[in-house]
Structure formats: structure tokens, C-alpha cells
């Protein structure tokens, strides 16, 4: 066990001696007859506990501790006081200058307990600080790791997808030709893996990124997200998009998370279309008020079975025979939770699904 180092400051030689006599076998004791001697010791040794007399000729104990706190914040400070100057004491304790005070003449047992407690506090604080530093380091490493993973994993995949589209361009294979479906299968696998990587990274980012408020133009956002997901899903081309945005007031919110939420809903609406439906359509409506934005994404796709409705937002829930990671709606829910949004769903199996989300508007916060 580490030896506890105690510094005792008192202008009375007798007190210093009797303190030493009582505690020398328990602690490593340093004594000082005035403040400047005490600072000399503190500059050379890192002590755990400092005890100071309140009434001294050059400065009071509280004044000494105020000064110590700025230069050596770690040691725990105990004040010894022979008279009850309540106001000074109360201030000193409330401002955190003094951990504990003990009246003179001290009782050995009481003082000993105080030193032990003070050391415990010291130890806990240092450990906490070490833990925080350690966590910060792990956090930074994890962020760098995710960054490189998102690149290292996606880069070769993007190249592979590039090669496949080249093969199509150069007529390496033509549809209906024997073996042509192999190319499409490879492409599908790559797209699926790409989607999984993107989703996993989105989920990770959602749990870690601080919320950044920016103004949101829902018309632009919707247009961009539709274009993006049409490109990512082959079937997107055949779907009619109907966008109606009513935004007459500015909206401020977390653009990253709003994009993740609406993007996932659009992606699902494209993915879960019924192949036999000839008028595939997706309607996106948004209404923005100073209070909030209400966005609905409605499709005429496969719909959701009643008994599945309660489970669609749970992690890794998947419907049999459907593609997907079971992460999309889980991410939507998590992202909404971060920005105090709400989601509801109505669906008729075989007819379509409507998701409604409500996101608070933080513009100017005029409502507070």
C-alpha cells in the first residue's frame, strides 16, 4: 500500500511536534512553520492531504488553501481552527476550499479518521481522472477506427460494384444469356453488404455524435434523399414519387439525424414494394410549424402484418423472406430518441404502410 503523505502547516512549533509524535508511525509527515515553507514542500513532493491551522501571522489557513487550490489542486485540504469563525468557515467549505474542518485541540482519533477519509477522496479523484483520460483515449481510437473501417471496407466494395457496372457497359454479359444472373447476384450481394456497412456506421454515429443544429429545408432534403435512394435501389426507377412540402417557417434541427431517419423510411418504402403492383407510388408529405415538423412517408407496398407491428422497431427484427439487416427502423427509432422525435405507423397488410414522424423545431426557441 502507498504511504499517505501529509503536510501540516502551523506557526506554533509545539503543535507541529505533537502532530509528528502522534502520526509519524502512520503517515509520511511533512511540517511547515509558515506558508512559504509549505509551498516549498508542495513544489517538491506530491502530498495527498494538507492540514493547516487557521490563525497564523502571515496569512490565514483559508487564504493559504485558496492559493494552494490554484497551484496544487489535487491534495485534500483540512482546516484546523481554534475558534469558531463560522462565516469564514462556511464560505471556505461552500467554495470547496476546505474538505473538512477540525476544532483545536484536536482529538487524535478524529483527526486520524479525517486524514484517512481525505486520502480516500484523493485516491478516488485521481482514479476518476485516470479513467476519464483512458476513456477519452479509447473513444478517440474508436472514432479513428470507425473512420478507417468505413473507408477500408467500403472502398474495395465500391470498386467491385464499379467493375460490375463496367461489365454491363461493355456487354460482357447480356440479359437472358446463360450465366448472366450470376452477375446480378454478385451485384445484389455487394449492394447488400454496402447497405449493411452504411447502416452499421449510421447506428454507431447516432449513438456518439453530438447533436448539431442547422436550418433544414425539407423540400431540398426530400429531393436529395429520393435521388440518392433511387440510385441505390434498382427498383427505385419505376416508382412514382409524390412530394408535398408545406414549409413557411424556418426549421432548425439535427440535419444528420433527420437525414438518417427520413432516408431509412424512403429506402424501406422503395424496398418493400409489391413486385406485381403496376402503379408503385410513394408519397412524402411534410408540414412545418414553429412548434415542429410532421413528416409522413406513405407507400402502397407489401404492408406489415398486425402481429409484426409491435416488433418492427426492435434491433435485428426481420420478416422472413425479406432482405434487410433488421437495423433500419431500429436506427430510425434510436435517432428519433436522440432528438426527442416521435414515430407512429399505420399499415394494412398487402396495401401499404404509412410512417408519421414528428420532430421538434428548435428555431430561435421562441416558445420558451
Amino acid at each position: 500500500m502507498t504511504v499517505i503523505k501529509v503536510l501540516y502547516l502551523d506557526d506554533e512549533e509545539n503543535n507541529l511536534n505533537s502532530f509528528k509524535a502522534s502520526f509519524r508511525r502512520l503517515y509520511e509527515i511533512y511540517t511547515a512553520g509558515n506558508a512559504s515553507m509549505a509551498f516549498d514542500i508542495l513544489n517538491q513532493t506530491s502530498v495527498h492531504v494538507i492540514i493547516s491551522d487557521q490563525r497564523m501571522p502571515d496569512m490565514t489557513g483559508v487564504e493559504f488553501f485558496k492559493k494552494v487550490k490554484t497551484i496544487h489542486p489535487d491534495p485534500i485540504r483540512i482546516l484546523l481552527t481554534g475558534y469558531t469563525d463560522v462565516e469564514t468557515l462556511a464560505d471556505a467549505i461552500n467554495e470547496g476550499d476546505v474538505y473538512r474542518y477540525i476544532t483545536k485541540p484536536w482529538n487524535d482519533l478524529e483527526l486520524n479518521n479525517s486524514i484517512r477519509n481525505a486520502y480516500e477522496v484523493y485516491k478516488t479523484r485521481v482514479e476518476l481522472r485516470e479513467k476519464v483520460t483512458e476513456l477519452q483515449k479509447t473513444n478517440d481510437e474508436l472514432n479513428r477506427f470507425i473512420y478507417s473501417i468505413s473507408h477500408e471496407l467500403r472502398a474495395p466494395l465500391a470498386s467491385a460494384l464499379g467493375v460490375i457496372s463496367l461489365a454491363r457497359l461493355e456487354n460482357v454479359y447480356t440479359p437472358h444469356q446463360k450465366g448472366s444472373e450470376y452477375w446480378e447476384l454478385i451485384e445484389e450481394c455487394c449492394n447488400k453488404l454496402d447497405y449493411n456497412i452504411t447502416n452499421t456506421i449510421q447506428y454507431y454515429k447516432n449513438s456518439r455524435y453530438e447533436s448539431i443544429s442547422e436550418t433544414v429545408d425539407f423540400q431540398k432534403l426530400a429531393t436529395r434523399l429520393i435521388a440518392l435512394h433511387k440510385l441505390a435501389n434498382k427498383s427505385g426507377e419505376k416508382i412514382k414519387f409524390d412530394v408535398s412540402i408545406e414549409q413557411n417557417v424556418p426549421f432548425t434541427g439535427d440535419v444528420f439525424r433527420i437525414e438518417v431517419i427520413i432516408g431509412n423510411l424512403i429506402s424501406n418504402a422503395i424496398k418493400y414494394q409489391r413486385p406485381e403492383e403496376s402503379n408503385k407510388s410513394i408519397k412524402i408529405n411534410a408540414k412545418v410549424t414553429p412548434l415542429d415538423a410532421v413528416i409522413t412517408v406513405a407507400d402502397n407496398g407489401v404492408g406489415i402484418l398486425n402481429e409484426h407491428l409491435g416488433k418492427i422497431f426492435s434491433q435485428f427484427f426481420k420478416v422472413r423472406n425479406q432482405k434487410g439487416t433488421g437495423l433500419g427502423l431500429f436506427i430510425v427509432k434510436e435517432a428519433l430518441a436522440k432528438i426527442n422525435g416521435k414515430i407512429s405507423v399505420q399499415s394494412t397488410f398487402g396495401l401499404g404502410t404509412t410512417f408519421t414522424i414528428r420532430i421538434p423545431n428548435h428555431h430561435h426557441n421562441t416558445l420558451q
Binding site: 473512420y147 468505413s150 473507408h151 467500403r154 472502398a155 466494395l157 465500391a158 470498386s159 460494384l161 464499379g162 467493375v163 457496372s165 463496367l166 457497359l169 461493355e170 456497412i197 452504411t198 456506421i201 449510421q202 454515429k205 455524435y209 440510385l231 444528420f256
Partner: protein, 139 residues
């Protein structure tokens, strides 16, 4: 003006020889470019641009710029690019191309006034034709 003369050049900057080849071939297929130059590093591309500032034959052009590259990355390339004369830059359009999903990179690319947009790899033929239509065929 002859149709041939309207066609822009294309510069592709990517440290991956593989992606360079893919994107080169995709671009060639669009038949939208007068000539296509490949660069395996940002430095060689900068040298080329510096040597050809007065060569109107390479203007106007589109630059497809990869972000993650060793030595000099896409953003460092842009720091040098802005030092080129503005008359030259007016006819030089930069599009960043990356496999990254990283929000910081996306924000950095989008906030750079000299970068038109950031495209996610793989390069899609429609995206490329749309870009050319938007910036080179607007009259």
C-alpha cells in the same frame, strides 16, 4: 461551335490504380469527354495543371478527385488548387469522389466553395452524365 469543341476534358485523380481504370472506362463509355487524363497522385495532377495553365486545349474540364490518398489527400490538393489563376479555375470544375461515409469529410467537401459536390463511390454513369449536362451543356 462544333459539337466536338464543346466536349470537356476529364481529369481523374485516384491513388487506386483499380478505381482509376474503372472510372476511366466508365467515363469513356459516356462519350462525353474530349480527352481523359489519369493521375495516380494529387501531386502529379497539380504539376500537370501548373504546366498547362496557358494550354486552352485542356479547358474546360471536370476533375474527379479522390479524398483519401497517401502523401497529399483531396483536401490538401484543394489548398493548392485555389492558388491557380481564377480565370483558369473558372473553367475547371472539381468533384470529389470518395467511398467514405464520414460526416466530417462530407461536410468538409460540401463547405468547400471550389468543390461542386461529393459523390460516393462507385461512380455511377448517370451521375457523371448529369454533371456534364449541368456544367458544360447549359447553353
Amino acid at each position: 461551335m462544333s459539337e466536338r469543341h464543346c466536349k470537356p476534358s476529364l481529369l481523374i485523380i485516384d491513388d487506386s490504380a483499380f478505381d482509376l481504370k474503372i472510372n476511366h472506362t466508365i467515363a469513356r463509355h459516356t462519350k462525353l469527354f474530349r480527352q481523359i487524363f489519369d493521375f495516380a497522385s494529387a501531386e502529379t495532377a497539380l504539376d500537370f495543371l501548373a504546366d498547362n495553365i496557358h494550354n486552352n486545349d485542356i479547358l474546360p474540364h471536370l476533375i474527379l478527385l479522390d479524398i483519401q490518398m497517401p502523401d497529399m489527400d483531396g483536401f490538401e490538393f484543394m489548398e493548392q488548387f485555389v492558388k491557380l489563376p481564377s480565370t483558369f479555375r473558372k473553367k475547371s470544375y472539381v468533384v470529389m469522389l470518395s467511398s467514405t461515409d464520414d460526416l466530417i469529410d462530407i461536410n468538409r467537401a460540401e463547405s468547400n466553395m471550389h468543390v461542386i459536390t461529393l459523390l460516393k463511390k462507385p461512380l455511377k454513369i448517370q451521375e457523371l452524365t448529369q454533371l456534364v449536362a449541368r456544367f458544360f451543356h447549359n447553353n
